[in-house]
Amino acid sequence: MTGSLPPALIFFAGALLVALAPGRLRPAMTLLVPLFGGWNLWYVAESGGGFEVALFDMRLELLRADKLALLFGILFHLATFLACLYAFHLRDRTQQVSSLLYAGGALGAVFAGDLITLFVSWEIMAVASVFLIWARRTPRASAAGMRYLMVQICSGLLLLAGALLHISETGSPAFGPMGIGSLAGILIFTAFGIKCAFPLVHSWLTDAYPEATPTGMVFLSAFTTKVAVYGLARGFAGTEVLIYIGTAMAMFPIFFAVIENDLRRVLAFSLINQVGFMVVGIGIGSELALNGAVSHAFNDVLFKGLLLMSMGAVLHQTGKINGSELGGLYKTMPITTGLCIVGAASISAFPLFSGFVSKSMVMAAAVEEGHWYIWLLLLFASAGVFHHAGIKIPFFAFFAHDSGIRTREPPLNMLLAMGIAAALCILIGVFPSLLYGFLPWQVHYVPYTADHVLSQLQLLFFSALAFAWLNLAGLYPPELPSVNLDADWLYRRLGMGTVRRTERAWKKAEQSVLHFIAHAAGTLHRAAAQHYGPESVLARTWSTGFSALWVVILLGICLILYYL
């Protein structure tokens, strides 16, 4: 044992203390937890981890601190700090405690050296995070939260099944590269895939995240999908199928995002799109691609967090988040507008902003490995990201037509959190070596070459030109209050419909059986009453002479029978 603690334990202890603390102290305590955690992380990095406990005859490694785990560890501490600062004004104990537990679960998962610890952390994340959705305290949020929880638990069960199978096959609980060659590998891969929002199992994310509280969605966007990305990078680097899955993830959400009205749901779609780039990088599996994938995960937490914080600020201040109801907010929220634009420029990979220095690594790796059509599709997706996240979000919230809403800037703590996130986005964009130094493999990639900058600027400017032209020509689809069908239709409508129809058919069958039974019982009852009831033949009273006559007849019959 060394002088450093597993970060998850610090967060869990912090959550417990916050739960017991009086309301006035709680916000400050939530900020101290990631700060103290960061101090501990310094020692973790120096000592190289190593914190083992024994469970039966297995040794569980709670603190594997290699460069990959440490990168995510730093990221999650940073994300927790920013999100806690953003949520500093909250007086809601449920959210404060569950967000720390959630972050602790995420840290437990990335530092887990074995599958059992990974599974336990995985489940803590699932259960703690759902409270950030339920804390919205609306009927929609509670229904969406329940759907979310069921999907997360399914993922956890698959992970457990895969882990047990893997342990029985190999005899070791260690979590390392495994591939999809065995059933155990496939089960674990699927578990990660669900949390990573692979196509067709993605709709838990776009369904539930936008129903969370303004602050809750900032936490949610930072952890679950990134832990899954970490898991894939650790266990399934170089699995070719991930290239195609990732490309599909980068492509399909952009179409949904263009026509989605809820601006936080637009960002949920763009979250899947960005994770798609990471998944492609993991699928390619070269050092450049993996560096690209994990550095993009790092940047995505910051710029997606920033965009979600700005939209959360809009929701917090106006109570509205639909594009069709917003517009013209730049007049009363100029600082938020500016910070949102920094996030938009970063996610669009503008030169000098963070997305530029990480996404291009994945693109360059795709080229290096000769995946030219994947590269073309990713380039399409890049233009699409700029279109829906880079332009649509700031445009419809802060500009477009004036909705007449007059509000104020959000509380200082929200502005401060957004400001720090924006500063980091620019800092990483301008000095990429700051981030490259933390990456798991040596970086030889140089993002700022004249032709790369020019290519990217051309792509973005002409995409923006297309937006301007479509908008001025009236071809751009207007923001409409609506619901768009997605894969969740399968269980929310088809599944529910089937269940309801089955229920109705069952009730009908039940009723007819009951009816039949009642009818049969009635008939039986009547027949019995006829023969045995008070008015029936057998219940009649007989006179003594009549009985004596019957006895004589019976004796006569006996005599005749005897005689025969």
């Binding site: 179409f255 026509i259 689809p477 409508r493």
Partner: protein
């Protein structure tokens, strides 16, 4: 209602788009000056990125409009 802000007047919007267009064309012309280490043949074509970005976005929006016809439902679709 107060006067329209500078940015809301159509005249100024058109002006901004024109400036934007001018910058885009300059970027396009820079293709002639800056040599690109093209990894695929078409990547080296003049104006490939600009053309691709423009076409991609128009295709994206038009496809999304078709998609909307297929999947858009009333806001209370799932509430009933």
């Amino acid at each position: 209602m107060s006067q329209k802000a500078w940015i809301e007047k159509r005249k100024n919007v058109v002006l901004m788009v024109r400036i934007f267009l001018a910058v885009s064309i300059v970027l396009l012309l820079l293709d002639l000056v800056i040599h690109r280490h093209a990894l695929f043949t078409w990547e080296g074509w003049f104006g490939f990125y600009g053309f691709y970005g423009f076409v991609a976005c128009v295709a994206l929006v038009l496809a999304a409009k078709v998609l909307r016809k297929l999947i858009m439902r009333r806001e209370d679709y799932y509430d009933g």
